[in-house]
Amino acid sequence: MKNAIEVRNLTKKYQLFKLDDVSFTVPGGTIVGLIGENGAGKSTTLKCILNLIHRDRGEIALLERDNIKEERLVKEDIGVVLDETGFHDTLTADMVGNVLSRIYQKWDKNLYQELLKRYDLPRNLFLKEFSKGMRMKLSIAAALAHHPRLLILDEPTSGLDPVVRDEILDEFFAFIKDEDHAILMSSHITTDLEKVADSIIYLHRGKVLLQGEKDLLLEQYGKLLCSKEQLAGVDKALLGGVRENQFGCEALVKDRHELKRRYPHLTVDPVSLDDIMVLTVKGEQK
């Protein structure tokens, strides 16, 4: 499998928001992180991919099949974790398994039981008694138990404590060991993506602002800390967003090696995904 997901020119217009000509790929054997501020279009993109909402324009291929024409077939191979679990409080984990075994043809009852055991989830306790972390683990168990090739995850680690988050991220690492598997994961917790993602797509106001291999992006981008006078002397083409405060300026540097070469007296720090997002948005607000 070359690409697990291919999104081309995806456009979806609402009254106050437009997902505008979004294109990206999720290659097989990789974890791709979708980042962006609230309302940037992450959930809209995932919903379009899953055909939960209707796109206005564009094409989407999942596992090399059209996501609408071959929807039922392709969804047999997709595991989904949405920000809300989707399972009723009055069900137990065993009941959920019973229901899903009649929905997914490749449902593996033994694997499901094994995952429940591994995640330390009670089989016969009603879900209303589950904590948020337990519910999320149940969603992940349910998403994995039909042997999917592609996982689509909307904020799978939000609201979870660091221990549970770490366990869940380990599970994603294990899943991706198979070259035929892939994960597309949206998250606000960019440190999680820094840990697991191979590539990053940064959505901003409905557009892809940035995409590429995570390590390359973090290597290429930087954060310039300097005075207003020093900033005035820097070529603006090298800079992204700028944030000014009473102590000086912070600027996102698009090519830190080039900036360092041209301005050796300036200090450029390594950047995090959070920095990229914050400086871009703050710079724009300014």
Binding site: L50, I53, V80, G86, H88, T90, N98, V99
Partner: protein, 220 residues
């Protein structure tokens, strides 16, 4: 799709248990002659109409629609499963009502002109349930369970209020339906029996397709 029907039964287990208990109580009173047997048939309608409505409410609360939409059952499968669930509830309610009605007649607790009259009453009331589902289900698929409560209430009040008004006006003599009565009774008995069933089935089928159309367009 059977998974979705199973899910509805599991989620509504408590509610359905409550209905079964109430039916058992009313069946007892009907068999002892305290209540008329037609009350049990009324339960069949309530089961068929209220069951799917409750299922919608629970689904919305759990945000199940998105999960189901992302699964291989697809939107059409979701609609089909809900209509089958309504049919199963109406069928089970109808059969129980018919059995109790027959029991009531058997024990001589009801005055009937022919032995199968209670069966006909149960079947007729089930058809009313089918009609109610035909109207309510597309409304809920379109507007969701919360908004549909008001719309459903208006439909219920209009239907039953209208029938009660007609009955009252006829009894009072302000409305003469004898012509219609004669015309209907003049029809061949086979047609008289088959026509309501066919009309209800046709409306249910049309309603199903309307719901599929609505749900296919819906943003989940």
């Amino acid at each position: 799709m059977t998974g979705l029907i199973l899910k509805d039964f599991l989620v509504l287990k408590k509610t359905l248990r409550y209905y079964v208990f109430l039916m058992a109580v009313y069946a007892f009173f009907a068999l002892t002659g305290t209540f008329t047997y037609s009350i049990i048939s009324g339960f069949a309608v309530m089961l068929g109409a209220m069951g799917p409505m409750s299922a919608f409410a629970y689904d919305e609360q759990a945000r199940w629609d998105k999960f189901a939409g992302a699964s291989p059952v697809g939107r059409k499968g979701v609609v089909t499963a809900r209509y089958l669930f309504a049919l199963i509830l109406l069928g089970v309610g109808g059969v129980v009502a018919a059995l109790v009605s027959l029991g009531v007649t058997w024990f001589g607790k009801a005055q009937v002109s022919v032995w199968w009259e209670p069966l006909a009453v149960s079947a007729a009331i089930c058809l009313v349930g089918l009609l109610l589902d035909s109207v309510i289900l597309p409304v809920i698929f379109k507007f969701g369970s919360e908004k549909s409560r008001v719309i459903s209430m208006i439909i219920f009040v209009t239907c039953f209020g209208g029938m009660a008004l007609l009955s009252w006006l006829t009894e009072k003599g302000s409305l003469d339906l004898s012509g219609l009565d004669k015309a209907v009774t003049a029809l061949p008995p086979a047609l008289l029996l088959a026509a309501p069933v066919m009309i209800a089935a046709l409306l249910f089928w049309i309603s199903y397709h309307i719901s599929v159309g609505i749900y296919l367009k819906k943003e989940l």
